[in-house]
């Protein structure tokens, strides 16, 4: 099964709810108040957020005359929502070896799984990958990551449970530099963005990585659970303020959650979504492509 099919399959349920309802809204109707109200319901129910929804509706209202002429409110909405997401910005490995990726996020969003899948993507492309077990807090987090490292054929750097996460990150980057590895992926403990001492710890991890290799980390990836509501925005804001987020990985997009939060995140913060997780398999990680994403949402 090709990746696109997999994505489509993953998004099937998303699409079902979203598009079926959209279509029933659009069928043979112009943009009247009732339509807009129904549209509001659809967008808000998809976690697009009150603000972004307001903007989208405002846009449709503005273009009412045009839409009436062409009769394709759907194309308008598609274009507007794609525009909201901006251009595709994939996760690309560049520059001097190693390319260092720091993965962060709140508890239970799917960091470790995403890292496992990402590592496997790089190794299957022939790159050598070092994974660092900097989640030294959660019980058995190291063991969980070890299993993923084995599956993907990545090298694994760990310390004891409970040790200093920054020290693990330092060792991993240093080892990767010596061994000439292509990529380092650093797993960190899940933490709520409201816990200032844990955010300080993360800042330290970042500083120490930079000491081990000036310029690193090259990518700070925030993993976001697609089922999360408006709080995902707060998460992105706070993590960004603390350590500077360069990209977002949207995990668990294979459920019934609509993933509408990506619109709000992009709109409010301008941080690109780079990857989406659409299943538990090692291959269920996809580049986020706004056009394809919106297209997949709307295609029936």
């Amino acid at each position: 099964m090709g990746v696109f099919d997999r994505l489509k399959q993953g998004l099937q349920k998303t699409r079902k709810g979203f598009v079926e309802r959209l279509e029933s809204v659009f069928k043979g109707r112009t943009i009247d108040e009732e339509t807009l109200e129904e549209l509001e319901e659809i967008l808000i129910s998809s976690d697009v957020g009150v603000k972004a929804t307001g903007e989208i509706l405002g846009y449709l209202r503005e273009k009412e005359a045009e839409i009436r002429k062409t009769g394709s409110a759907r194309e308008f909405l598609k274009a507007e929502m794609t525009a909201l997401l901006g251009v595709s910005e994939r996760l690309v490995v560049y520059g001097n070896k190693p390319f260092v990726i720091l993965a962060v996020g709140v508890n239970g969003v799917g960091k470790t799984t995403t890292i496992g899948k990402l590592a496997s993507r790089f190794t299957s492309e022939g790159m050598s990958v070092v994974i660092a077990a900097s989640d030294t807090f959660r019980a058995a987090a190291i063991e969980q990551l070890q299993i993923w490292a084995n599956r993907s054929g990545a090298q694994f750097v760990k310390h004891q449970s409970g040790s200093d996460p920054a020290a693990v990150a330092f060792d991993a980057v240093e080892a990767a530099v010596h061994r000439g590895a292509d990529v380092v992926i650093i797993d960190t403990a899940g933490r709520l963005h409201t816990k200032s001492h844990l955010m300080e710890e993360l800042k330290k991890v970042r500083r120490v990585i930079n000491k081990a290799m000036p310029g690193a980390p090259h990518e700070v990836l925030l993993v976001v659970d697609a089922t999360t509501g408006q709080n995902a925005l707060r998460q992105a804001m706070m993590f960004d303020a603390a350590i500077g987020i360069t990209g977002i990985a949207l995990a668990k997009l294979d459920g019934t959650a609509k993933g509408g939060i990506v619109f709000a995140i992009k709109k409010e913060l301008g941080i690109p979504v780079r990857l989406i997780g659409i299943g538990e398999g090692i291959e269920d990680l996809r580049d986020f492509d706004p056009k394809e994403f919106v297209e997949a949402l709307f295609s029936s």
């Binding site: 808000i44 659970d225 089922t227 408006q230 459920g255 019934t256 959650a257």
Partner: protein, 436 residues
């Protein structure tokens, strides 16, 4: 949690209450804002729709608009409806007359099932029961190790098998083992799964048939968005749930998922997870949470927490002080000290009446040091009678404590605010509504 929602509602209410006369459109405008506040808090769209509809029916009636205090009446209606949305009283875990009581934990990936299982076991152990954990998550890498590690931390045995491929069989075996060991509580930690994954939901059903749990608890992340109701419905209709545990309540999510899930499934929220440490779990008190949402603080939870930190006599004294009028700066200082020993201040602060809405209070340990320093620089007379503290005394206190006059003013303001709230508490169990 809930603070942001509470702030929004307060602002709406303030505008309502400030008016002597209310027109229908005033109420409509206010309800529109209530609606937006709830939507921004991730309360499900349909739940909000029904909620606002009910409010509207009650609030634009003649009795309300023509009453002497229409604003108050509307606020009261919102208050009542919110309470009924959340349920009225604590819902406990039902114990089986024939041990072991089997509790089955279900939910999506990453919702916090494993941690919550260990937390529950710890509660039962503290109550003097003999819990046992069962590692029935055979999917996620190292899930068994995680539960075994947690079990060792709290001294609760974990039934597990690294060879087993059949969780239903494993659970069945665990019941036999628990009987053999005389364990009276059995907590099954199942694998995370999507509510639409038919194969895995069927597996869950099989576990349920084999283990016949007394309680099936649905574990959900408090940060979940609109989809929360679909997920809860999926689990409830798929296998049947008896209650809900909301985890990660210590973040700044606005908690709409909690309101939605209760409204849609009708199942009570039994516990909330309030931190990463193993003892950070609390029974859910709907009426207290309603108070918190409505900005009235949660004195009951505060007093219970305090009982952990104070001995009985001290607790009684605190209660007396809190409900009396003789609340001095010395009391405030002593209390801050105790509060700091009660656990993370973020968790405590929301319970203190009036504290939730004080913008000046940043939840930061250093802030408490500052307050203490300010109080320490007051004379005993000043601590007893704040009226003495005039401009020049403020200057003296500021330089004495290494703070600024602004800081001193802030501490004074916070003190007065608290005193005012406490006075209201004394008058009628709870203030009818928060002071503005």
């Amino acid at each position: 949690m809930f603070e942001a929602l509470s702030e929004k509602l307060e602002a709406v209410f303030k505008r309502l209450k400030g008016r002597g006369l209310l027109k229908e459109q005033d109420v409509e405008a206010a309800l529109k804002e209530v609606r937006l506040a709830l939507l921004e808090a991730d309360v499900n769209f349909k739940v909000v729709k029904d909620f606002v509809q009910r409010l509207k029916e009650r609030a634009v009636g003649k009795e309300v608009l023509e009453s002497l205090t229409p604003g108050q009446q509307v606020v009261k209606i919102v208050n009542e409806e919110l309470r009924s949305l959340l349920g009225d009283s604590v819902s406990k875990i039902h114990l089986s007359p024939n041990p072991p009581t089997v509790i089955m934990m279900v939910g999506l990936h990453g919702s916090g099932k494993t941690t919550t299982s260990a937390k529950l076991a710890q509660i039962f152990k503290k109550e003097g029961r003999r819990p046992m954990l069962v590692a029935a998550d055979l999917q996620r890498p190292a899930a068994i190790d995680q539960l075994v590690t947690l079990g060792a931390q709290i001294g609760v045995p974990v039934f597990h098998s690294k060879e087993s491929k059949d969780p239903a069989y494993l659970c069945e075996e665990s019941i036999k083992e628990s009987k053999r060991q005389g364990r009276d509580i059995l907590i099954l930690d199942t694998a995370g799964r999507l509510h639409i994954d038919e194969a895995l939901m069927a597996e869950l059903k099989r576990i349920k048939e084999k283990a016949a749990p007394k309680e099936t608890l649905f574990v959900a992340d408090a940060m979940t968005g609109q989809d929360a109701v679909n997920i809860a419905k999926g689990f409830n209709e798929g296998i049947g749930i008896d209650g809900v545990v909301f985890t990660k309540m210590d973040g700044d999510a606005r908690g709409g998922a909690a309101l939605s899930v209760r409204a849609i499934t009708g199942k009570p929220i039994k516990f909330i997870g309030t931190g990463e440490k193993i003892d950070m779990i609390e029974p859910f008190h709907p009426e207290r949470v309603a108070s918190r949402i409505l900005g009235m603080g949660d004195v009951m939870s505060l007093i219970e927490k305090a009982q952990g930190a104070y001995d009985r006599k001290e607790a009684e004294r605190l209660q007396e002080k809190l409900l009396g009028e003789s609340f001095t700066f010395d009391d405030l200082k002593e209390q801050l000290k105790k509060v700091r020993s009660m656990g993370p201040i973020e968790n405590i602060l929301g319970m203190i009446p009036g504290m939730g809405k004080l913008k000046g209070v940043k939840v930061d340990e250093r802030e408490f040091v500052k307050i203490e320093a300010v109080i320490n620089s007051m004379t005993p007379a000043e601590r007893k009678n704040y009226n003495l503290i005039n401009g020049s005394r403020r200057k003296r206190i500021a330089s004495g404590s290494g703070t600024t006059v602004t800081d001193v003013n802030r501490v004074l303001k916070q003190y007065l605010e608290m005193k005012k709230m406490l006075k209201m508490l004394k008058k009628g169990k709870m203030p009818r509504f928060m002071p503005f």
